[in-house]
């Protein structure tokens, strides 16, 4: 099991489209992916559920903790952190 913390950087935060990209990216891997807010709250959501991710209400600047658990957890965590770190491919 691997855990990493990353900051949401894009202007719109983790909105529906960004969350959709995250779900698609997480879906590539077999590992179980869970996400929680590192800076507040204790809600842990399924990283492959768009509604779960939306419930984190992660606006720009929010710090989220991603956990991957499974055979391909290393690849998964790198890819997902990069996605968030690069602002979901959106304008900063």
């Amino acid at each position: 099991m691997l855990t990493r913390t990353v900051t949401v950087r894009n202007a719109l935060g983790m909105h529906a489209r960004a969350a959709a990209r995250f779900v698609h990216a997480a879906g590539v891997y077999q590992s179980h992916v869970s996400v929680t807010r590192a800076d507040r709250g204790d809600r842990v959501v399924d990283g492959k559920s768009i509604l779960g991710l939306l419930l984190l209400a992660a606006a720009r600047g929010a710090v989220i903790r991603i956990t991957a658990d499974g055979a391909d957890e290393a690849e998964a965590i790198v890819a997902l952190c990069r996605l968030v770190d690069t602002g979901f491919g959106e304008e900063p």
Partner: protein, 603 residues
């Protein structure tokens, strides 16, 4: 035979088989017997499948037309549709609590919204809008196929009377006048957009006819009497005969009054009054020409959208529509109002009306008429706004285009819009020479704008008074709420005073003011407006010939005196009585009297 009384919103009479369309979320919540759980789950599953197919279709169309970025919105909606927290949650609720699918879906959505509301972050709370759209689509697809919104219009193969609980403007814009004979609506009012559209298409319509969707089954013979405000279910042959005679009489009157009404209009003492046309759809241009309008005073660009979201409407397609309008009206001017939509219309997928989903749980999102709409929305979505402005500027090279900004409430918004226009047109050349700047005007429909016309006039090129909204916001009346609709009073002294002030302030700054609301279609109001100094009107083409006739029969001096008297009278009843005494030749009716007044002949 049953007769239901409503409000006459568009004149004429029509009859035919009923096509029933339900747009609103039916308040259907009931418990089910344990034996029906499986059936209810199957219903939910079928709605999910239909929704998925619709979303995949929209996704494919959008990615082709508008690119991957916008299409990803529908990918997100597809994921929401498949998410464990929504449909499977609703399924669990059906199984454990034995409630119907609609109720279970509502509960699942409410649970989701409750968590969001706790978050307290307005910005992210807006995100539940996408979920609301998906829920709205599911609810729509839980309805029996025969009454589902988009499908009813698409499947219509023979002319029919459209019977609906509510007609969103985006749906109204899709009506094919060759297939729709008339409208019978449970909600709405005379000044609702759908009513305005019905009038401009010449479709008889009755709004506020309570319960018609419950009394009428698809295919039943229905008569819509848009003169008396009556919906007659199963009319007798005698009633149809009388209606037919009435219709033929009206037709001959229209033709007799037609051709002589062209050319500039002037009062009996020679003051020129300009009449332009309000236009909803490009295919109305022939009617505009026939009515002798001196240009288009208001083109409501949002009606182009139909069921599409604004982001799906790219620059090139907008440009083609605007250019076509301008060229067909040349050399007459065309005033195009930028999109006047609210959030749901802007982001919605409208195949199932998004308002269905947005209404209840999303009340906290404030999608109402005072929310994020019109210029506010445009300024918040600069890319979309600049796309429209660029399309307008390009069309402006082919004729006289004026840009009209809706719902402006402050000088700041006007300034910001001007900056957007400058950005949008930067680098655009006009075959080597400088393009003539397009005049930019604003709608006066928010009281704050009406009260600061002198300040706005420094930076606006022209004004257009939108009476419907101005009256609604000045009098604080929701015109779509039938229970208070009677308070919507165009002749309220406050309205007359406000309009007088707008005309005076704009006149001092040398800015023209046009009046583009439905108010001017009422003869009494038209006389008062003339007297208050309005010399430019824009109205539905069908109303222009009558207005011209009226203008020619009065002198400026007498209408000025009447207006001066009117602003000092305490109630609109007093004003109507004063008008009736001074102008006995005209029959003045108050709009809400429509339904009660016995009327033997067509107007």
């Amino acid at each position: 035979m049953i007769s239901v009384t409503g409000i006459a919103v568009s004149p004429g009479v029509a009859w035919g088989p009923a096509a029933l369309m339900l747009q609103r979320h039916p308040a259907m919540r009931y418990a089910i017997a344990p034996g029906y759980v499986e059936l209810e789950v199957a219903r939910l599953e079928s709605a999910r499948e239909i929704s998925a197919a619709q979303l995949r279709g929209i996704h494919a169309r959008v990615s082709q037309r508008a690119g991957a970025d916008l299409a990803s919105l529908f990918e997100a909606q597809l994921l929401i549709l498949d998410d464990q927290l929504l449909v499977p949650r609703a399924r669990d609720i059906i199984t454990s609590d034995h409630v119907n699918a609609e109720w279970a879906l509502d509960r699942a959505f409410e649970q989701f919204c409750a968590v969001f509301a706790d978050v307290g972050d307005d910005y992210l709370r807006d995100r539940s809008g996408d979920v609301a759209d998906v829920v709205g689509r599911l609810r729509q697809n839980l309805l029996p196929a025969a009454v589902r919104g988009g499908r009813v219009l698409a499947d219509l193969d023979a002319p029919a009377i459209l019977v609906s609980d509510e007609l969103a403007p985006s749906f109204a814009a899709q009506l094919d006048p060759a297939l729709i004979l008339g409208l019978a609506l449970e909600t709405g009012s005379r000044t609702h957009h759908s009513a305005i559209l019905a009038r401009s298409l010449g479709l008889p319509a009755v709004a506020g006819a309570a319960g018609v969707t419950r009394h009428i089954r698809p295919g039943t013979l229905v008569m819509v009497d848009g003169d008396r405000g009556e919906v007659v279910i199963d009319p007798t042959p005698e009633i149809i005969d009388r209606a037919r005679a009435r219709r033929e009489r009206r037709h001959s009157i229209t033709i007799a009054g037609g051709p002589a009404e062209h050319g500039p209009a002037a009062t009996a003492d020679g003051v020129a009054i300009a009449f332009q046309a309000n236009v909803e759809r490009p295919d109305e241009i022939d009617g505009v020409r026939a009515a002798g309008a001196e240009g288009i005073g208001l083109f409501r660009s949002e009606f182009l959208l139909g069921r599409r979201a604004i982001g799906e409407f790219d620059e090139e397609s907008q440009y083609r529509v605007y250019r076509d309008l301008v060229e067909r009206m040349a050399p007459l001017p065309v005033t195009i109002r930028t999109f006047d939509v609210d959030e749901s219309q802007a982001s919605g997928t409208l195949e199932a009306s998004p308002r269905v989903g947005a209404r209840e749980p999303a009340a906290s999102l404030s999608r109402g008429p005072l929310g994020l709409r019109a210029i506010r929305l445009s300024l918040g979505h600069r890319a979309l706004f600049e796309t429209q402005l660029r399309a307008l500027a390009r069309a402006g090279r082919h004729g006289a285009v004026r840009v009209l900004l809706p719902f402006v409430s402050s000088v700041d918004e006007l300034r910001e819009a001007r900056v957007a226009l400058a950005c949008a047109t930067r680098g655009m050349s006009s075959g080597g020479r400088e393009a003539t700047p397009m005049p930019v005007g604003i709608m006066i429909e928010v009281p704050s704008a009406a009260l600061t016309v002198d300040l706005l006039a420094v930076e606006a090129d022209f004004f257009s008074i939108g009476t419907n909204d101005l009256i609604q916001y000045c009098l604080a009346v929701d015109r779509t709420d039938g229970r208070v609709a009677e308070l919507f009073d165009p002749l309220h002294p406050a309205i007359l005073r406000l309009i007088r002030q707008v005309i005076r302030m704009a006149g001092r700054r040398g800015r023209s003011v046009s009046l583009c609301g439905e108010m001017a279609a009422d003869p009494g109001a038209l006389l008062l407006l003339l007297g208050l100094g309005v010399t430019e009107f824009s109205m539905s083409p069908a109303a222009i010939p009558e207005a011209r006739r009226l203008v020619r029969q009065v002198t400026m001096a007498e209408v000025r005196r009447a207006a001066a008297r009117a602003v000092g009278l305490p109630t609109s009843r007093d004003i109507t009585a004063m008008l009736a005494a001074r102008f006995p030749a005209f029959a003045f009716r108050r709009p809400e009297a429509d339904r009660r007044e016995p009327m033997e002949d067509g107007r």
